[in-house]
């Protein structure tokens, strides 16, 4: 009897330790804090009347770029967008690709923010674990209608970085993955790099 009781006790203790550990972990990932910290900085720059003048827009863009680079992990984004095609790229091609892809994504994102941002606030709804990574659900009001935007984040050297953005359930990297795959079925990595370069110049 005593043995069984002990086993039960041990079981309860392990369950307790295990669950309390999970609880502690979800509470102090700090991912939402990191995201909020950076997005707040972006919003502050967008709202700053000092950049109202059209001649100051480039400075505003550069400032946002600095924060974007601390928020998004473009290496991870590139890897996951290329998926199995990543191995087809040489080291130099990988570096070139990351730079061009980051530039395309960042420019479109920042241009859109600078042109269309109208004081909307972000609501942080939840943070859920996804293996070692996390998903943070947010909404942003567009014409009073909440648009769901989810951020997938991964920890790198004590800091959380975004590696995927889902707008109304549409994953950015899954969307690019199908596009890149379509091109790389019968074209070389160099072709894709040239194509991205052209796209960046448009």
């Amino acid at each position: 009897m005593g043995m069984i009781m002990k086993k039960f006790l041990l079981l309860f203790v392990t369950i307790f330790l295990f669950t309390s550990n999970i609880h502690a972990e979800t509470k102090k990932t700090g991912a939402t804090d990191d995201l909020r910290f950076n997005l707040d900085k972006v919003i502050l720059i967008l709202k700053d009347p000092a950049y109202k003048d059209s001649s100051k827009k480039q400075i505003q863009r550069d400032k946002i770029w600095q924060i974007v680079l601390q928020t998004f992990d473009f290496t991870e984004i590139s890897k996951r967008s290329l998926a199995r095609n990543w191995r087809k790229f040489s080291k130099e091609e990988k570096i070139k690709f990351i730079k061009l892809f980051a530039n395309l994504l960042g420019s479109v994102y920042i241009d859109k923010l600078v042109d269309a941002y109208n004081g909307e606030d972000i609501t942080y709804i939840s943070e859920t674990a996804l293996g070692d990574n996390v998903v943070i659900k947010t909404t942003i009001l567009k014409d009073n209608v909440p648009v769901p935007i989810d951020y997938k984040m991964k920890k790198k050297k004590d800091k959380w970085f975004v590696y995927d953005v889902l707008v109304e359930g549409v994953s950015l990297i899954k969307n690019y993955r199908s596009q890149f795959n379509q091109i790389l079925v019968n074209k070389t990595p160099q072709y894709l790099i040239d194509h991205l370069e052209k796209k960046n110049k448009e």
Partner: protein, 272 residues
């Protein structure tokens, strides 16, 4: 003698200016790509642990959503036709419309048509067993139709619960097992699937006779309905064109991007 020293001085000054410029230039007008040098860690390039994550997410290392496409050449031709139509015909029309009709009125019309679709959404909630959301949808319809002056305003937007995820007949069909459907690009209307085409037709030509207040009270015939839908479509056209252009701008293969985006969005709506 004097002119010679002056030339010498000029040379030194030129050299100094050259060196100063040489060192300052890169900091002043960096090429965009240079700002990425600090954030790319070369040691990460060979780390392929992301494969496991992708596999876990979707069960295959490539994880492209399988999209069945019986008529790819037809679809691409229609896609290119639509592109020309949107940019050369619809865009100028939408710009003119926006110029003539004030934004408040445009929003009002949009709300009005959106509200007319509410009973149908509520019905689809019920068909999928989402009784609570069906009830909330019906509540917001009652509220907007009365306090919101026939739906031109949307007081229901102030209460989160009164805005459940929108359900249409395509999602109902998916709920009963018709989850995957072949992709097709429709002239004018754009990306769709056979399931969604069938569901739109069913909603417009059959279900709305019973559930669209306009149809029920005004007994509109098909011609009038097509006119109304055209008006509804053109009223929010400029927003859609803006989205279309933005999405095209950021994609490397626009046809593939719209196909994948449409299917992803529909799958997400079905999941909800």
């Amino acid at each position: 003698m004097q002119s010679q020293t002056w030339i010498m001085k000029k040379k030194t000054v030129a050299i100094i200016i050259f060196y100063v410029l040489f060192f300052i230039m890169p900091f002043n007008s960096y090429a965009k790509e240079d700002i990425f040098d600090d954030v790319i860690d070369v040691s990460e390039l060979d780390d392929e642990s992301f494969y496991d994550d992708i596999k876990e997410e979707s069960g295959s290392p490539n994880s492209n959503i399988k999209i069945h496409e019986p008529f790819p050449r037809f679809n691409k031709a229609v896609f290119n036709f639509n592109d020309k139509l949107y940019i050369n015909v619809f865009k100028p029309f939408a710009t003119a419309y926006d110029f003539c009709v004030p934004a408040v009125m445009r929003k009002g019309f949009e709300n009005f048509f959106d509200n007319l679709g509410s009973p149908l959404r509520s019905f689809n909630c019920v068909l999928q067993g989402k009784f609570k959301n069906g009830f909330y949808e019906f509540l917001s319809f009652s509220l907007d139709s009365t306090l919101g002056f026939f739906g031109f305003f949307k007081p229901s937007l102030t209460v989160d619960a009164l805005n459940p995820p929108e359900e249409d007949f395509g999602q109902t069909l998916a709920f009963y097992g018709y989850k995957e459907s072949s992709y097709i690009v429709l002239p004018i209307l754009g990306p769709s699937t056979f399931r969604d085409l069938f569901s739109n037709a069913t909603e417009i030509f059959y279900l709305s006779d019973y559930l669209d207040p306009m149809d029920v009270y005004l007994k509109t015939d098909t011609t009038q309905e097509i006119l109304l839908y055209s008006f509804q479509y053109s009223n929010s056209l400029s927003l859609q064109i803006q989205f279309y252009e933005d999405f095209k701008k950021m994609s490397v293969d626009p046809y593939e991007a719209f196909k994948n985006g449409y299917i992803q969005r529909r799958n997400a709506a079905i999941e909800k």
